[in-house]
């Protein structure tokens, strides 16, 4: 059992150090960077396009899912935002920034989905 876990960790480390992974992350990162730059200029649709591409290239990139969730939230696509936040937290459960974003999002989402009595 101990060896199995160790083997998995080693395999993970080898994979993340492998050129394929590094290339994917690098490519995804350039999309994320571009997305952040355009989002800071208010071009949220373009940012969504870039971040969607980033998570497609590297589905283990928590920051890309976080940014995508923020953009969906800004566009009022709350279901998509929730899924993206949840995916980001699944990848990095201890990331304080993602958790903070998600908590703030939940407040709004709860308010929006409150049923009429």
């Amino acid at each position: 059992m101990k060896y199995g876990v160790g083997l998995l960790l080693v395999a993970g480390a080898v994979f993340s150090a492998s050129p394929v992974f590094a290339d994917a992350r690098q490519e995804a990162k350039s999309q994320v960077d571009f997305g952040v730059n355009v989002a800071l200029r208010g071009l949220w649709r373009e940012a969504i396009y870039r971040w969607e591409k980033a998570v497609e290239i590297d589905p283990t990139y928590a920051a890309a899912f976080n940014d995508l969730a923020v953009a969906y939230e800004h566009e009022g696509q709350l279901d998509k935002a929730r899924k993206a936040y949840e995916k980001a937290l699944e990848i990095e459960p201890n990331n304080a920034q993602i958790r903070q974003n998600y908590e703030l999002f939940k407040e709004i989402n709860d308010r929006a989905s409150q049923k009429d009595k």
């Binding site: 976080n66 923020v70 939230e73 009022g76 709350l78 920034q97 974003n101 703030l104 929006a112």
Partner: protein, 279 residues
């Protein structure tokens, strides 16, 4: 000499390791960007068929210091004027308690006369019984008999015709004093032997008083008199028993919490906030 060399090389190794860690942290840690966002929230109710809104009035009670009906009508109208696309109709707030009493009286009389024709004995038992309204509204239970008024489609259709078929906002509002006693957790400042300050949570027994606000907003289609939707909320505020807070300021404090939900029912809103983007 050898000892000093060993110490120097271990310090150097530590320095190199720290520098490497910093480089890795910068490379892996990514950057943060705080961005302002505005989340659009769709209105819960489709009011596209209406251009005008009539905040008619409310069955209100629970407090003698305040005319809750008038204050609620005034507040909702001013909020709708500034935060919705509907045109707000200016009219005197209706005193719905009187309307409900008149309707009840008329209903009881017609019931009694109908029964008198068929069976005098039955009339004695039924007249006025199912329509009894409380003299004074003190709590939520006293408001329940007034619900019949909001279901009176003929009445609301007539009101709708009078104001050219607007969306009608009406309902009930209970604003009542509330007292509570029990243990509450408060933060207390403490100083240790060295004079250092810290804040610790302590549980203390407190008597508190305040108010509870329970509005029920009823949205009526002025063209048909039928209820489209309703929204009920309940909020309360409690203060230290020694503190004197005017009823009106508590009323506004509580309405501040409720009004966003009310507006969210009728018009789409944009909620401002900030989020963190990561690289």
């Amino acid at each position: 000499m050898i000892v000093r060399l060993k110490r120097t090389s271990s310090r150097l190794a530590l320095g190199v390791f720290a520098a490497a860690c910093a480089v890795v942290a910068i490379a892996c840690g990514g950057e943060l960007f705080e961005v302002p966002i505005e989340t659009p929230i769709k209105a819960k109710l489709d009011v596209s068929a209406f251009q005008r809104v009539l905040v008619a009035g409310f069955v209100a009670g629970g407090n003698d210091e305040l005319d809750t009906n008038q204050e609620t009508v005034r507040l909702l109208r001013s909020q709708l004027r500034s935060k919705s696309s509907l045109r707000v109709i200016d009219a005197d707030p209706m005193t719905l308690i009187d309307v409900a009493k008149d309707q009840n009286k008329a209903a009881a009389e017609s019931e009694a006369s109908a029964a008198r024709v068929s069976d005098r004995e039955v009339a004695d038992k039924t007249a006025g019984q199912p329509t009894a309204l409380p003299e004074k509204i003190k709590d939520q239970k006293d408001l329940e008999p007034y619900d019949r008024l909001f279901a009176n489609t003929a009445y609301w259709k007539r009101i709708g015709e009078e104001y050219q078929n607007p969306l009608i906002v009406t309902g009930s509002v209970l604003f009542a004093p509330r007292t509570s006693a029990g243990f509450v957790t408060r933060e207390t400042e403490v100083y240790d032997g060295l004079g250092r300050r810290s804040v610790i949570p302590t549980r203390t027994y407190m008597e508190r008083k305040g108010f509870v606000l329970r509005p029920k907003f009823v949205f009526i289609d002025g063209r048909t008199g039928a209820t489209i939707s309703s929204l009920s909320r309940s909020e309360e505020v409690l203060y230290n028993a020694q503190q004197t807070t005017p009823a009106l300021s508590s009323y506004f404090e509580l309405m501040d919490r409720i009004v966003p939900d009310f507006l969210g029912t009728l018009s789409s809103q944009k909620i401002k906030g900030t989020r963190i983007l990561l690289k």
